[in-house]
Protein backbone atom coordinates (compact mmCIF):
# COMPACT_ATOMS: atom_id res chain seq x y z
CA UNK A 1 0.00 0.00 0.00
CA UNK A 2 1.28 3.39 -0.87
CA UNK A 3 1.20 5.79 1.98
CA UNK A 4 1.10 9.47 1.39
CA UNK A 5 3.31 11.37 3.75
CA UNK A 6 1.53 14.41 5.07
CA UNK A 7 3.58 17.01 6.77
CA UNK A 8 2.26 17.68 10.23
CA UNK A 9 0.41 20.98 10.16
CA UNK A 10 2.42 23.78 11.62
CA UNK A 11 1.12 24.76 15.04
CA UNK A 12 -0.64 28.07 15.46
CA UNK A 13 2.45 29.78 16.84
CA UNK A 14 5.01 28.35 14.43
CA UNK A 15 7.36 31.22 15.05
CA UNK A 16 10.57 29.30 14.40
CA UNK A 17 9.11 27.79 11.28
CA UNK A 18 8.07 31.23 10.13
CA UNK A 19 11.50 32.72 10.73
CA UNK A 20 13.09 29.83 8.86
CA UNK A 21 10.92 30.48 5.85
CA UNK A 22 11.51 34.22 6.07
CA UNK A 23 15.25 33.60 5.97
CA UNK A 24 14.90 31.19 3.08
CA UNK A 25 13.27 33.85 0.94
CA UNK A 26 16.10 35.72 -0.81
CA UNK A 27 14.33 39.07 -1.05
CA UNK A 28 13.38 39.08 2.62
CA UNK A 29 16.92 38.09 3.59
CA UNK A 30 18.41 40.92 1.53
CA UNK A 31 15.98 43.41 3.07
CA UNK A 32 16.64 42.12 6.57
CA UNK A 33 20.44 42.34 6.13
CA UNK A 34 20.24 45.95 4.99
CA UNK A 35 17.95 46.80 7.91
CA UNK A 36 20.13 45.05 10.46
CA UNK A 37 23.10 46.95 9.05
CA UNK A 38 21.33 50.27 9.57
CA UNK A 39 20.10 49.26 13.02
CA UNK A 40 23.64 48.34 14.09
CA UNK A 41 24.87 51.63 12.68
CA UNK A 42 22.17 53.57 14.56
CA UNK A 43 22.81 51.75 17.83
CA UNK A 44 26.61 51.96 17.72
CA UNK A 45 26.78 55.54 16.43
CA UNK A 46 27.60 57.01 19.88
CA UNK A 47 30.44 54.49 20.32
CA UNK A 48 31.99 54.85 16.86
CA UNK A 49 31.53 58.57 16.54
CA UNK A 50 31.56 60.32 19.93
CA UNK A 51 29.15 63.20 20.17
CA UNK A 52 32.04 65.65 20.07
CA UNK A 53 32.72 64.80 16.40
CA UNK A 54 29.35 66.36 15.58
CA UNK A 55 30.31 69.67 17.11
CA UNK A 56 30.94 72.32 14.48
CA UNK A 57 33.54 74.02 16.62
CA UNK A 58 35.58 70.91 17.27
CA UNK A 59 35.48 69.56 13.73
CA UNK A 60 39.01 68.87 12.57
CA UNK A 61 38.65 67.96 8.88
CA UNK A 62 39.01 70.20 5.85
CA UNK A 63 35.69 71.56 4.54
CA UNK A 64 34.05 69.79 1.59
CA UNK A 65 36.77 67.19 1.28
CA UNK A 66 35.87 64.25 -0.99
CA UNK A 67 35.79 60.71 0.42
CA UNK A 68 39.17 59.60 1.68
CA UNK A 69 40.56 57.01 4.12
CA UNK A 70 40.22 59.37 7.06
CA UNK A 71 36.73 60.46 6.01
CA UNK A 72 35.13 57.55 4.12
CA UNK A 73 32.10 59.65 3.11
CA UNK A 74 33.88 62.97 2.89
CA UNK A 75 33.22 66.02 5.04
CA UNK A 76 30.67 68.82 5.21
CA UNK A 77 31.20 72.56 5.04
CA UNK A 78 32.45 72.60 8.63
CA UNK A 79 34.81 69.68 8.18
CA UNK A 80 32.65 67.13 10.03
CA UNK A 81 32.64 63.55 8.83
CA UNK A 82 29.52 62.87 6.73
CA UNK A 83 29.71 59.21 7.84
CA UNK A 84 29.29 60.30 11.47
CA UNK A 85 26.38 62.54 10.51
CA UNK A 86 24.66 59.79 8.56
CA UNK A 87 25.14 57.27 11.40
CA UNK A 88 23.64 59.69 13.91
CA UNK A 89 20.91 60.61 11.45
CA UNK A 90 19.88 56.95 11.19
CA UNK A 91 18.85 57.05 14.85
CA UNK A 92 16.35 59.85 14.37
CA UNK A 93 15.13 58.75 10.96
CA UNK A 94 14.45 55.17 12.04
CA UNK A 95 12.91 56.23 15.34
CA UNK A 96 10.57 58.72 13.69
CA UNK A 97 9.77 56.30 10.88
CA UNK A 98 8.85 53.42 13.21
CA UNK A 99 7.10 55.61 15.78
CA UNK A 100 4.98 57.43 13.23
CA UNK A 101 4.10 54.15 11.55
CA UNK A 102 3.04 52.60 14.84
CA UNK A 103 0.69 55.53 15.44
CA UNK A 104 -0.76 55.63 11.95
CA UNK A 105 -1.16 51.85 11.66
CA UNK A 106 -2.92 51.45 15.02
CA UNK A 107 -5.23 54.37 14.29
CA UNK A 108 -5.88 53.32 10.71
CA UNK A 109 -6.54 49.68 11.56
CA UNK A 110 -8.79 50.42 14.52
CA UNK A 111 -10.82 53.07 12.70
CA UNK A 112 -10.94 51.04 9.49
CA UNK A 113 -12.23 47.89 11.19
CA UNK A 114 -14.74 49.78 13.33
CA UNK A 115 -16.11 51.79 10.42
CA UNK A 116 -16.46 48.65 8.34
CA UNK A 117 -17.98 46.53 11.09
CA UNK A 118 -20.57 48.95 12.49
CA UNK A 119 -22.93 49.65 9.65
CA UNK A 120 -25.10 52.24 11.39
CA UNK A 121 -24.31 55.81 12.35
CA UNK A 122 -21.03 54.85 14.07
CA UNK A 123 -19.60 53.49 10.84
CA UNK A 124 -20.90 56.45 8.85
CA UNK A 125 -19.41 58.94 11.33
CA UNK A 126 -16.00 57.22 11.34
CA UNK A 127 -16.08 57.09 7.57
CA UNK A 128 -16.75 60.82 7.31
CA UNK A 129 -13.88 61.54 9.72
CA UNK A 130 -11.61 59.42 7.51
CA UNK A 131 -12.82 61.31 4.44
CA UNK A 132 -12.13 64.58 6.17
CA UNK A 133 -8.54 63.64 7.00
CA UNK A 134 -8.08 62.17 3.56
CA UNK A 135 -8.88 65.38 1.69
CA UNK A 136 -6.64 67.61 3.83
CA UNK A 137 -3.36 68.02 1.96
CA UNK A 138 -0.60 66.40 4.00
CA UNK A 139 2.15 69.02 3.81
CA UNK A 140 0.15 72.12 4.82
CA UNK A 141 -1.42 70.25 7.75
CA UNK A 142 1.94 68.85 8.84
CA UNK A 143 3.54 72.28 8.54
CA UNK A 144 0.77 73.90 10.59
CA UNK A 145 0.88 71.18 13.26
CA UNK A 146 4.69 71.25 13.45
CA UNK A 147 4.59 75.02 13.82
CA UNK A 148 1.87 75.02 16.47
CA UNK A 149 3.31 72.14 18.50
CA UNK A 150 6.89 73.33 18.22
CA UNK A 151 9.75 71.49 16.53
CA UNK A 152 10.94 68.31 18.25
CA UNK A 153 11.35 64.62 17.34
CA UNK A 154 8.13 63.76 19.16
CA UNK A 155 6.15 66.45 17.41
CA UNK A 156 7.33 65.32 14.04
CA UNK A 157 6.51 61.68 14.90
CA UNK A 158 3.03 62.63 16.06
CA UNK A 159 2.44 64.87 13.05
CA UNK A 160 3.35 62.15 10.57
CA UNK A 161 1.41 59.51 12.52
CA UNK A 162 -1.72 61.64 12.77
CA UNK A 163 -1.75 62.58 9.11
CA UNK A 164 -0.83 59.24 7.54
CA UNK A 165 -3.62 57.00 8.88
CA UNK A 166 -6.61 57.74 6.61
CA UNK A 167 -5.23 55.77 3.67
CA UNK A 168 -4.75 52.72 5.87
CA UNK A 169 -8.21 53.16 7.37
CA UNK A 170 -9.75 53.22 3.91
CA UNK A 171 -7.90 50.10 2.84
CA UNK A 172 -8.74 48.22 6.05
CA UNK A 173 -12.38 49.32 5.88
CA UNK A 174 -12.75 48.00 2.35
CA UNK A 175 -11.26 44.67 3.36
CA UNK A 176 -13.38 44.54 6.52
CA UNK A 177 -16.53 44.95 4.43
CA UNK A 178 -15.50 42.00 2.31
CA UNK A 179 -14.58 39.86 5.33
CA UNK A 180 -17.82 40.78 7.14
CA UNK A 181 -19.86 39.36 4.30
CA UNK A 182 -18.23 35.94 4.64
CA UNK A 183 -20.12 33.09 6.26
CA UNK A 184 -17.68 32.63 9.13
CA UNK A 185 -18.71 36.03 10.42
CA UNK A 186 -22.31 34.95 10.20
CA UNK A 187 -21.25 31.89 12.17
CA UNK A 188 -19.61 34.01 14.84
CA UNK A 189 -22.78 36.09 15.11
CA UNK A 190 -24.76 32.88 15.42
CA UNK A 191 -22.28 31.82 18.13
CA UNK A 192 -23.43 34.73 20.21
CA UNK A 193 -20.12 36.57 19.91
CA UNK A 194 -19.92 40.22 20.92
CA UNK A 195 -18.89 42.87 18.40
CA UNK A 196 -15.49 43.19 20.05
CA UNK A 197 -14.94 39.44 19.80
CA UNK A 198 -15.95 39.42 16.15
CA UNK A 199 -13.61 42.29 15.34
CA UNK A 200 -10.60 41.02 17.29
CA UNK A 201 -10.83 37.29 16.62
CA UNK A 202 -12.30 37.14 13.15
CA UNK A 203 -11.83 40.38 11.26
CA UNK A 204 -8.42 41.48 12.58
CA UNK A 205 -6.55 38.24 11.76
CA UNK A 206 -8.01 38.32 8.28
CA UNK A 207 -7.03 41.93 7.56
CA UNK A 208 -3.63 41.53 9.28
CA UNK A 209 -1.63 40.50 6.18
CA UNK A 210 -2.92 43.61 4.45
CA UNK A 211 -2.08 45.76 7.46
CA UNK A 212 1.46 44.39 7.71
CA UNK A 213 2.12 44.76 4.01
CA UNK A 214 0.83 48.29 4.29
CA UNK A 215 2.99 48.88 7.37
CA UNK A 216 6.19 48.42 5.43
CA UNK A 217 4.97 50.93 2.86
CA UNK A 218 3.95 53.28 5.64
CA UNK A 219 7.40 53.08 7.25
CA UNK A 220 8.92 54.11 3.95
CA UNK A 221 6.49 56.99 3.60
CA UNK A 222 7.08 58.05 7.21
CA UNK A 223 10.86 58.14 6.73
CA UNK A 224 10.40 60.11 3.53
CA UNK A 225 7.97 62.48 5.26
CA UNK A 226 10.45 63.03 8.06
CA UNK A 227 13.09 63.78 5.45
CA UNK A 228 10.72 66.18 3.71
CA UNK A 229 9.71 68.03 6.86
CA UNK A 230 13.33 68.27 8.06
CA UNK A 231 14.42 69.45 4.64
CA UNK A 232 11.78 72.19 4.88
CA UNK A 233 13.30 73.18 8.21
CA UNK A 234 10.38 71.92 10.32
CA UNK A 235 12.36 69.22 12.10
CA UNK A 236 14.10 69.42 15.41
CA UNK A 237 17.02 71.81 14.84
CA UNK A 238 18.95 70.18 17.66
CA UNK A 239 18.97 66.67 16.28
CA UNK A 240 20.44 65.25 13.12
CA UNK A 241 18.32 63.25 10.74
CA UNK A 242 18.87 62.28 7.12
CA UNK A 243 16.44 64.98 6.11
CA UNK A 244 18.19 67.65 8.09
CA UNK A 245 21.58 66.65 6.64
CA UNK A 246 20.11 67.10 3.17
CA UNK A 247 18.65 70.45 4.19
CA UNK A 248 21.94 71.59 5.64
CA UNK A 249 23.92 70.42 2.62
CA UNK A 250 21.53 72.17 0.29
CA UNK A 251 21.81 75.44 2.22
CA UNK A 252 25.59 75.21 2.51
CA UNK A 253 25.85 75.07 -1.27
CA UNK A 254 26.88 71.44 -1.62
CA UNK A 255 25.52 71.44 -5.15
CA UNK A 256 27.61 74.35 -6.38
CA UNK A 257 30.65 72.96 -4.54
CA UNK A 258 30.14 69.65 -6.35
CA UNK A 259 30.09 67.84 -2.99
CA UNK A 260 28.12 64.84 -4.26
CA UNK A 261 29.00 62.75 -1.21
CA UNK A 262 27.33 65.27 1.10
CA UNK A 263 23.87 64.93 -0.51
CA UNK A 264 24.38 61.44 -1.89
CA UNK A 265 25.11 59.62 1.38
CA UNK A 266 21.90 60.50 3.30
CA UNK A 267 19.83 60.20 0.11
CA UNK A 268 21.07 56.70 -0.60
CA UNK A 269 20.46 55.72 3.03
CA UNK A 270 16.81 56.77 2.72
CA UNK A 271 16.44 54.81 -0.51
CA UNK A 272 18.10 51.68 0.97
CA UNK A 273 15.95 51.63 4.11
CA UNK A 274 12.76 52.20 2.13
CA UNK A 275 13.75 49.41 -0.26
CA UNK A 276 14.58 47.05 2.61
CA UNK A 277 11.19 47.55 4.25
CA UNK A 278 9.40 46.98 0.95
CA UNK A 279 11.31 43.75 0.34
CA UNK A 280 10.46 42.44 3.80
CA UNK A 281 6.86 43.52 3.53
CA UNK A 282 6.22 41.44 0.45
CA UNK A 283 7.62 38.33 2.09
CA UNK A 284 5.71 38.85 5.33
CA UNK A 285 2.46 39.12 3.41
CA UNK A 286 3.05 35.76 1.76
CA UNK A 287 4.20 34.26 5.07
CA UNK A 288 1.11 35.22 7.06
CA UNK A 289 -1.32 33.49 4.76
CA UNK A 290 -1.69 29.95 6.15
CA UNK A 291 -2.85 28.59 2.80
CA UNK A 292 0.45 29.49 1.14
CA UNK A 293 2.61 28.32 4.02
CA UNK A 294 2.51 24.58 3.30
CA UNK A 295 4.85 24.75 0.37
CA UNK A 296 7.59 27.22 0.92
Amino acid sequence: MTTLEFKAPSPAGGFRDGMRRLVRSRTALAGALVLVGFLVMALTAPLLFPESTLSVTRADGPPFSPPSLAYPLGTDEDGRSVLALVAWGARVSLLVGLGATAISMSLGTAIGIASGHYRGWIGAALDRVTDWFLVIPFLPLAIVLATVLGPSIWTITAVIGLTAWPGTARLVRAHTLSVSARPYLERSRALGARNAHQMIHHILPNVMPLVLANTTLAISIAILSETTLSFLGLGDPGSISWGSILDQGFQAGAISEGAWWYLGAPGICVVLVVLAFNLIGRSIEALLDPSTSDNP
Binding site: Y184, R187, G192, R194, H201, N206
Partner: protein, 321 residues
Amino acid sequence: MSLVSLRNVELAFDSSSGPLHILRGVTLDVQEGEVVGIAGESGCGKTTLASTILRLQPPTARLSGGVMVNGVDVNQMAWGDVRALRWAVGSVVFQGALHSLNPVQTIGQQIMEPMLIHGTQPSPSLARHTAQELLVEVGVPITRFGAYPHQLSGGQRQRVVIAMAMACRPQLVIADEPTTALDVMVQAQVLEVLLNLVRSHNMSMLFISHDLSVLAQVADRIAVMYAGRIIEEGTTSQVLEHPLHPYTRALVDAFPVIGDPRHRFAPASLSGEPPVPGRYGVGCAFAPRCPASEDQCTQAEPTLLGTMDHRVACFVTGGRE
Protein backbone atom coordinates in the same frame (compact mmCIF):
# COMPACT_ATOMS: atom_id res chain seq x y z
CA MET B 1 -44.24 22.67 26.04
CA SER B 2 -42.41 22.38 22.80
CA LEU B 3 -38.81 23.51 22.52
CA VAL B 4 -39.43 25.77 19.56
CA SER B 5 -42.82 27.00 18.58
CA LEU B 6 -43.35 29.31 15.65
CA ARG B 7 -46.76 30.95 15.61
CA ASN B 8 -47.98 32.53 12.41
CA VAL B 9 -44.55 33.96 11.60
CA GLU B 10 -44.57 36.55 8.85
CA LEU B 11 -41.42 38.19 7.54
CA ALA B 12 -41.09 40.84 4.87
CA PHE B 13 -38.40 43.05 3.40
CA ASP B 14 -39.05 46.53 2.11
CA SER B 15 -37.91 47.04 -1.43
CA SER B 16 -38.21 49.96 -3.82
CA SER B 17 -41.09 48.19 -5.56
CA GLY B 18 -43.09 47.37 -2.46
CA PRO B 19 -42.70 44.84 0.34
CA LEU B 20 -41.34 41.37 -0.33
CA HIS B 21 -43.21 38.77 1.71
CA ILE B 22 -40.73 35.99 2.35
CA LEU B 23 -42.59 34.15 5.11
CA ARG B 24 -46.39 34.23 5.09
CA GLY B 25 -47.80 32.84 8.28
CA VAL B 26 -45.69 29.85 9.23
CA THR B 27 -46.71 27.78 12.24
CA LEU B 28 -44.38 24.98 13.27
CA ASP B 29 -43.39 23.18 16.47
CA VAL B 30 -40.24 21.30 17.32
CA GLN B 31 -40.59 19.03 20.35
CA GLU B 32 -37.71 18.02 22.55
CA GLY B 33 -35.70 15.19 21.04
CA GLU B 34 -37.52 15.49 17.74
CA VAL B 35 -35.97 15.84 14.27
CA VAL B 36 -38.07 18.02 12.01
CA GLY B 37 -37.23 18.23 8.32
CA ILE B 38 -38.07 21.24 6.18
CA ALA B 39 -38.26 20.55 2.46
CA GLY B 40 -38.75 22.99 -0.36
CA GLU B 41 -37.06 24.48 -3.37
CA SER B 42 -34.64 27.40 -3.41
CA GLY B 43 -36.18 30.71 -2.41
CA CYS B 44 -39.18 29.29 -0.61
CA GLY B 45 -38.01 30.67 2.75
CA LYS B 46 -36.50 27.61 4.48
CA THR B 47 -33.29 29.29 5.63
CA THR B 48 -35.06 32.54 6.53
CA LEU B 49 -37.48 30.58 8.69
CA ALA B 50 -34.64 28.87 10.54
CA SER B 51 -32.79 32.17 11.02
CA THR B 52 -35.72 33.66 12.94
CA ILE B 53 -35.32 31.07 15.69
CA LEU B 54 -32.00 32.59 16.82
CA ARG B 55 -33.03 36.10 15.74
CA LEU B 56 -30.45 35.97 12.97
CA GLN B 57 -32.72 37.48 10.33
CA PRO B 58 -31.28 40.62 8.71
CA PRO B 59 -31.99 43.76 10.74
CA THR B 60 -33.95 45.23 7.82
CA ALA B 61 -36.52 42.43 7.97
CA ARG B 62 -39.99 43.14 9.38
CA LEU B 63 -41.17 40.23 11.46
CA SER B 64 -44.51 39.53 13.07
CA GLY B 65 -45.91 36.52 14.86
CA GLY B 66 -44.40 34.57 17.71
CA VAL B 67 -41.01 32.87 17.75
CA MET B 68 -40.91 31.06 21.07
CA VAL B 69 -37.91 29.12 22.33
CA ASN B 70 -38.54 27.36 25.65
CA GLY B 71 -41.67 29.45 25.97
CA VAL B 72 -39.95 32.84 25.65
CA ASP B 73 -40.44 35.08 22.64
CA VAL B 74 -37.04 35.57 21.01
CA ASN B 75 -37.97 38.96 19.62
CA GLN B 76 -38.88 40.33 23.05
CA MET B 77 -35.60 39.21 24.64
CA ALA B 78 -32.92 41.58 25.84
CA TRP B 79 -29.83 41.56 23.62
CA GLY B 80 -27.70 39.76 26.21
CA ASP B 81 -30.28 36.98 26.47
CA VAL B 82 -30.30 36.58 22.69
CA ARG B 83 -26.53 36.17 22.74
CA ALA B 84 -26.82 33.58 25.50
CA LEU B 85 -29.49 31.77 23.49
CA ARG B 86 -27.29 31.54 20.44
CA TRP B 87 -25.25 28.36 20.38
CA ALA B 88 -25.85 27.52 24.04
CA VAL B 89 -29.50 26.68 23.36
CA GLY B 90 -29.56 26.53 19.59
CA SER B 91 -26.61 26.05 17.28
CA VAL B 92 -26.28 26.00 13.52
CA VAL B 93 -24.59 23.62 11.09
CA PHE B 94 -23.99 25.81 8.08
CA GLN B 95 -24.21 24.85 4.47
CA GLY B 96 -20.79 25.74 3.06
CA ALA B 97 -18.34 24.26 5.54
CA LEU B 98 -15.27 25.84 3.97
CA HIS B 99 -16.76 29.29 4.04
CA SER B 100 -18.17 29.09 7.53
CA LEU B 101 -14.71 28.35 8.93
CA ASN B 102 -12.28 31.18 9.49
CA PRO B 103 -9.34 30.51 7.13
CA VAL B 104 -6.69 31.95 9.46
CA GLN B 105 -7.65 30.08 12.64
CA THR B 106 -6.99 26.43 13.37
CA ILE B 107 -10.04 24.22 13.59
CA GLY B 108 -9.22 23.48 17.22
CA GLN B 109 -9.43 27.16 18.11
CA GLN B 110 -12.71 27.44 16.26
CA ILE B 111 -14.31 24.48 18.04
CA MET B 112 -13.21 25.95 21.37
CA GLU B 113 -14.54 29.38 20.50
CA PRO B 114 -18.23 28.94 21.50
CA MET B 115 -17.22 27.20 24.75
CA LEU B 116 -15.01 30.12 25.69
CA ILE B 117 -17.56 32.74 24.66
CA HIS B 118 -20.35 31.13 26.65
CA GLY B 119 -18.14 29.93 29.48
CA THR B 120 -19.54 26.40 29.34
CA GLN B 121 -16.07 25.10 30.11
CA PRO B 122 -14.43 26.68 33.14
CA SER B 123 -10.92 26.83 31.72
CA PRO B 124 -9.25 26.95 28.33
CA SER B 125 -7.51 23.65 28.97
CA LEU B 126 -10.84 21.94 29.68
CA ALA B 127 -12.30 23.55 26.57
CA ARG B 128 -9.35 22.21 24.64
CA HIS B 129 -9.91 18.76 26.04
CA THR B 130 -13.63 18.85 25.20
CA ALA B 131 -12.87 20.11 21.71
CA GLN B 132 -10.52 17.21 21.13
CA GLU B 133 -13.16 14.77 22.36
CA LEU B 134 -15.68 16.32 19.99
CA LEU B 135 -13.25 15.97 17.11
CA VAL B 136 -12.91 12.28 17.84
CA GLU B 137 -16.69 11.93 18.20
CA VAL B 138 -17.26 13.31 14.69
CA GLY B 139 -14.51 11.08 13.31
CA VAL B 140 -11.72 13.52 12.53
CA PRO B 141 -8.24 12.35 13.60
CA ILE B 142 -7.08 14.19 16.71
CA THR B 143 -3.83 15.06 14.94
CA ARG B 144 -5.82 17.50 12.83
CA PHE B 145 -6.62 19.63 15.88
CA GLY B 146 -4.05 22.24 14.88
CA ALA B 147 -4.85 22.13 11.17
CA TYR B 148 -6.23 25.04 9.18
CA PRO B 149 -9.52 24.62 7.31
CA HIS B 150 -7.88 24.48 3.88
CA GLN B 151 -5.84 21.46 4.97
CA LEU B 152 -8.96 19.33 5.46
CA SER B 153 -11.15 17.55 2.96
CA GLY B 154 -14.72 18.68 2.35
CA GLY B 155 -16.15 15.88 4.47
CA GLN B 156 -13.75 16.58 7.33
CA ARG B 157 -14.66 20.26 7.26
CA GLN B 158 -18.33 19.46 7.52
CA ARG B 159 -17.54 17.14 10.44
CA VAL B 160 -15.66 19.99 12.10
CA VAL B 161 -18.66 22.26 11.63
CA ILE B 162 -20.81 19.58 13.27
CA ALA B 163 -18.36 19.28 16.18
CA MET B 164 -18.59 23.03 16.55
CA ALA B 165 -22.38 22.92 16.67
CA MET B 166 -22.20 20.32 19.46
CA ALA B 167 -19.63 22.27 21.49
CA CYS B 168 -22.05 23.75 24.01
CA ARG B 169 -24.40 20.74 24.09
CA PRO B 170 -27.33 22.78 22.76
CA GLN B 171 -30.95 21.69 22.97
CA LEU B 172 -31.51 22.43 19.29
CA VAL B 173 -29.32 22.01 16.22
CA ILE B 174 -30.36 23.85 13.09
CA ALA B 175 -28.81 22.02 10.14
CA ASP B 176 -29.09 24.16 7.02
CA GLU B 177 -28.47 21.86 4.07
CA PRO B 178 -25.40 20.40 5.79
CA THR B 179 -24.67 17.82 3.12
CA THR B 180 -25.44 19.73 -0.05
CA ALA B 181 -21.89 20.20 -1.27
CA LEU B 182 -20.74 16.64 -0.50
CA ASP B 183 -20.70 13.54 -2.65
CA VAL B 184 -23.15 10.79 -1.86
CA MET B 185 -20.77 8.55 0.10
CA VAL B 186 -19.45 11.35 2.30
CA GLN B 187 -22.97 12.70 2.61
CA ALA B 188 -24.15 9.40 4.09
CA GLN B 189 -21.23 9.33 6.56
CA VAL B 190 -21.72 12.91 7.66
CA LEU B 191 -25.47 12.37 8.08
CA GLU B 192 -24.81 9.35 10.24
CA VAL B 193 -22.39 11.25 12.47
CA LEU B 194 -24.81 14.13 12.85
CA LEU B 195 -27.81 11.94 13.54
CA ASN B 196 -25.94 9.75 16.04
CA LEU B 197 -24.83 12.78 18.03
CA VAL B 198 -28.27 14.35 18.01
CA ARG B 199 -29.93 11.11 19.09
CA SER B 200 -27.37 10.16 21.72
CA HIS B 201 -27.56 13.56 23.42
CA ASN B 202 -31.35 13.74 23.01
CA MET B 203 -31.13 17.01 21.11
CA SER B 204 -33.77 18.38 18.79
CA MET B 205 -32.88 19.15 15.21
CA LEU B 206 -34.35 21.28 12.49
CA PHE B 207 -33.01 19.83 9.28
CA ILE B 208 -33.33 21.91 6.13
CA SER B 209 -32.90 20.22 2.79
CA HIS B 210 -34.27 20.21 -0.71
CA ASP B 211 -33.47 16.52 -0.90
CA LEU B 212 -36.40 14.37 0.22
CA SER B 213 -34.29 11.21 0.28
CA VAL B 214 -32.04 12.81 2.90
CA LEU B 215 -35.01 13.96 4.93
CA ALA B 216 -36.50 10.46 4.76
CA GLN B 217 -33.37 9.18 6.53
CA VAL B 218 -33.20 11.72 9.33
CA ALA B 219 -36.56 13.30 10.06
CA ASP B 220 -39.37 12.24 12.40
CA ARG B 221 -41.65 14.84 10.87
CA ILE B 222 -41.45 16.72 7.59
CA ALA B 223 -42.79 20.14 6.70
CA VAL B 224 -42.93 20.99 3.00
CA MET B 225 -42.63 24.67 2.19
CA TYR B 226 -43.71 26.47 -0.95
CA ALA B 227 -43.69 30.22 -1.54
CA GLY B 228 -43.13 31.18 2.10
CA ARG B 229 -45.78 28.89 3.59
CA ILE B 230 -45.94 25.37 4.90
CA ILE B 231 -48.20 23.51 2.50
CA GLU B 232 -47.97 20.05 3.99
CA GLU B 233 -46.77 18.76 7.32
CA GLY B 234 -46.85 15.43 9.05
CA THR B 235 -44.91 12.38 10.11
CA THR B 236 -42.23 11.33 7.66
CA SER B 237 -44.03 8.15 6.68
CA GLN B 238 -47.35 9.91 6.11
CA VAL B 239 -45.87 12.72 4.03
CA LEU B 240 -43.62 10.53 1.90
CA GLU B 241 -45.92 7.56 1.49
CA HIS B 242 -49.25 9.34 1.21
CA PRO B 243 -48.46 12.84 -0.05
CA LEU B 244 -51.64 14.88 -0.34
CA HIS B 245 -50.57 18.20 -1.79
CA PRO B 246 -49.94 18.08 -5.56
CA TYR B 247 -46.57 19.76 -5.01
CA THR B 248 -45.44 17.16 -2.49
CA ARG B 249 -46.67 14.47 -4.84
CA ALA B 250 -44.56 15.88 -7.63
CA LEU B 251 -41.54 15.98 -5.31
CA VAL B 252 -42.05 12.38 -4.21
CA ASP B 253 -42.67 11.24 -7.78
CA ALA B 254 -39.42 12.87 -8.85
CA PHE B 255 -37.62 9.96 -7.19
CA PRO B 256 -37.08 7.19 -9.67
CA VAL B 257 -37.89 3.73 -8.39
CA ILE B 258 -34.87 1.75 -9.41
CA GLY B 259 -35.83 -1.16 -11.65
CA ASP B 260 -39.21 0.28 -12.48
CA PRO B 261 -39.25 0.96 -16.24
CA ARG B 262 -42.25 3.26 -15.90
CA HIS B 263 -40.10 5.80 -14.08
CA ARG B 264 -37.39 5.52 -16.64
CA PHE B 265 -39.61 6.41 -19.52
CA ALA B 266 -41.83 8.96 -17.85
CA PRO B 267 -39.72 11.21 -15.64
CA ALA B 268 -41.98 13.14 -13.35
CA SER B 269 -41.64 16.86 -13.66
CA LEU B 270 -43.52 20.04 -12.92
CA SER B 271 -44.31 22.51 -15.62
CA GLY B 272 -43.68 26.16 -15.03
CA GLU B 273 -41.28 28.08 -12.83
CA PRO B 274 -41.42 28.62 -9.08
CA PRO B 275 -42.85 32.05 -8.23
CA VAL B 276 -40.51 34.99 -7.69
CA PRO B 277 -39.70 35.01 -3.95
CA GLY B 278 -41.69 37.61 -2.07
CA ARG B 279 -44.16 38.37 -4.86
CA TYR B 280 -47.21 36.19 -4.55
CA GLY B 281 -50.65 37.04 -5.86
CA VAL B 282 -54.09 36.10 -4.66
CA GLY B 283 -54.97 32.45 -4.22
CA CYS B 284 -52.81 29.36 -3.81
CA ALA B 285 -49.26 30.17 -4.89
CA PHE B 286 -48.92 26.76 -6.48
CA ALA B 287 -52.09 27.03 -8.58
CA PRO B 288 -50.35 28.16 -11.82
CA ARG B 289 -48.25 24.99 -11.86
CA CYS B 290 -50.77 22.66 -10.26
CA PRO B 291 -52.13 19.81 -12.36
CA ALA B 292 -55.24 19.61 -10.16
CA SER B 293 -56.08 23.30 -9.79
CA GLU B 294 -59.70 24.42 -9.76
CA ASP B 295 -61.38 27.81 -9.94
CA GLN B 296 -61.42 28.33 -6.18
CA CYS B 297 -57.62 27.86 -6.03
CA THR B 298 -57.00 31.21 -7.74
CA GLN B 299 -59.45 33.10 -5.56
CA ALA B 300 -58.42 32.30 -1.98
CA GLU B 301 -55.47 30.77 -0.21
CA PRO B 302 -56.03 27.39 1.45
CA THR B 303 -55.09 26.96 5.11
CA LEU B 304 -53.29 24.05 6.73
CA LEU B 305 -55.94 21.57 7.83
CA GLY B 306 -55.90 18.00 9.11
CA THR B 307 -54.72 15.95 12.06
CA MET B 308 -51.46 16.36 13.99
CA ASP B 309 -50.08 13.43 12.03
CA HIS B 310 -50.80 14.91 8.64
CA ARG B 311 -51.95 18.34 7.61
CA VAL B 312 -52.19 19.89 4.17
CA ALA B 313 -53.09 23.26 2.70
CA CYS B 314 -55.03 22.40 -0.44
CA PHE B 315 -58.68 22.90 -1.49
CA VAL B 316 -58.63 20.00 -3.89
CA THR B 317 -56.93 17.20 -1.99
CA GLY B 318 -57.22 18.56 1.54
CA GLY B 319 -60.95 18.06 1.80
CA ARG B 320 -60.81 14.36 1.27
CA GLU B 321 -59.42 13.31 4.63
